[in-house]
């Protein structure tokens, strides 16, 4: 099937309605991770799923809306990290369009790339806002050690973010891939923007 360009700005209603659902899934993912006391955030499953199902633009929008809503409801700092969410949505959408999400091993590799993208985008924000820390205990401990050894704020902050973000995004992409594979075709086809109609008469 010929796909429409992934950068198309003409959204179907189904794709638009997917955005609030994606934000809801992010929220629920974070809640479950908290309830099960998992040491990761797992708060971008919805964004990743939206990107897989409806392309990078919808994924990026879902990321942006997600952080705005978080900022309005839980934690005003998340406005600042909206850019990271947008980057995650874009990265997953592009990787998926290029066919990276077709097998478990490729999905794992895609997860590592997404984690790296998130780290690269977040590090300058961390340095500008917090002076380089992330607020995660393990990451910040590493930050302190590297800062004491090497005198480089950028390296310390980069490593601080990478140890937290890469495992998190890897797991998020794998979980989203697992859910995506389990979706019935009637659901996963719905957001496809190809708008082709076939008539039977």
């Amino acid at each position: 099937m010929q796909k429409q360009s992934m950068w198309s700005l003409k959204f179907s209603t189904a794709a638009l309605v997917l955005i609030p659902t994606a934000v809801g899934i992010n929220y629920i993912g974070k809640l479950f991770a908290g309830l099960l006391k998992l040491p990761l955030w797992l708060d971008s499953i919805g964004t990743v799923l939206a990107s897989i199902l409806a392309g990078p633009i919808i994924g990026a929008l879902a990321g942006a809306v997600n952080n705005v809503i978080y900022g309005l409801t839980v934690d005003p700092i998340s406005f600042v990290y909206g850019i990271t969410s947008v980057a995650i949505g874009l990265a997953v959408g592009i990787l998926c369009y290029k066919g990276w999400l077709s097998s478990w091993s490729k999905a794992a590799l895609a997860g590592l790339i997404v984690g790296l993208v998130a780290t690269i985008v977040s590090t300058p924000i961390n340095i500008g806002f917090w002076g380089g820390q992330t607020g995660n205990v393990w990451g910040d401990a590493l930050y302190a050690i590297v800062l004491a050894k090497t005198d480089s704020v950028w390296l310390a902050s980069f490593l601080d973010e990478i140890v937290v973000d890469v495992p998190d995004k890897l797991l998020v992409v794998l979980i989203s891939f697992a859910i995506y594979r389990g979706l019935p075709g009637s659901v996963s086809q719905m957001y496809n923007n190809s708008n082709k109609f076939e008539s039977l008469d």
């Binding site: 839980v74 005003p76 820390q133 302190a144």
Partner: protein
């Protein structure tokens, strides 16, 4: 149903201001300390935000957010005080730990900047109903479709949270282990999340059809249910804030 927004309904002049002026204020509190990066300027901006929060009678609701932020800030003070590159002047010795003046000053700067920005955002968040904010953005050219997307999140999340507790109970009744060691808890994640996600994705189909039937994609001018809240103060405030930012910029260029 549980309210998920931080908005607090009070009677104050900050509440009566339009959301756009509050957005201007956020821009102002981020830009001025960036243009004039001295401790005193950031201190003034932070105080301004805190005074406005007090005047809006929402300071009590702001405290938990500030507390959360300060926990992180304490680690910033410790780490920067101990390890910041360029630390030379010894300020304080506690046992084997040596705090340096340069690092502590830097941590003070970070603390003030974070307080300033969080305070400015809190003014918007605590005194503005999310739907009012979205509505005034739509009036100024945001696509009404995107506006719907943002507002509907506030309906969907409580819906999904209640589905979530139903599914949690159902899976536990079937014998799913949700407590125990890390592996057990990770394994429980997918059977819990899967049904919620699938159910909500199926719901989007119905929602999309319901919207299309009601003319979601219709062209033409949209009208608003509520009248716009306007204040005589909003234009002068917006202009004043812009003027201060421009003046700060000129000041920076001249000195």
């Amino acid at each position: 149903m549980k309210q998920i927004s931080l908005y607090a309904d009070r009677n104050s002049f900050v509440h009566d201001l339009d959301p756009i002026s509050k957005l201007y204020y956020i821009l102002f509190s981020i830009l001025v300390p960036v243009i004039l990066p001295s401790i005193s300027v950031t201190l003034i901006c932070s105080f301004l935000s805190i005074i406005l929060l007090l005047l809006a009678k929402v300071f009590k609701k702001a405290l938990p957010v500030f507390l959360l932020v300060f926990i992180v800030l304490i680690t910033v003070v410790i780490i920067q005080g101990l390890f910041r590159p360029g630390n030379e002047t010894i300020f304080l010795k506690i046992g084997p730990a040596v705090f340096y003046k340069e690092g502590l000053l830097y941590a003070l700067k970070v603390t003030l900047r974070v307080t300033d920005i969080v305070g400015a955002f809190l003014i918007l968040v605590l005194t503005t109903k999310p739907s009012d904010l979205v509505e005034s953005l739509v009036r100024r050219g945001l696509s009404p479709r995107i506006g719907y997307v943002v507002i509907s999140v506030f309906q969907i999340i409580p819906e999904m949270t209640s589905t979530m507790s139903t599914i949690m109970d159902a899976q536990r009744a079937r014998g799913l282990e949700t407590e125990g060691n890390l592996i057990t808890r990770i394994k429980a994640f997918i059977p819990l999340l899967g049904p919620v996600v699938l159910g909500s994705l199926v719901n989007t189909k119905e929602r999309a059809m319901a919207l299309e039937v009601r003319g979601f994609n219709a062209q033409g001018n949209k009208t608003f249910l509520n009248e716009e809240k306007t204040s005589v103060l909003s234009k002068p405030i917006q202009l004043g804030l812009l003027l201060i930012v421009v003046m700060a910029f000129v000041w920076r260029l001249l000195t």
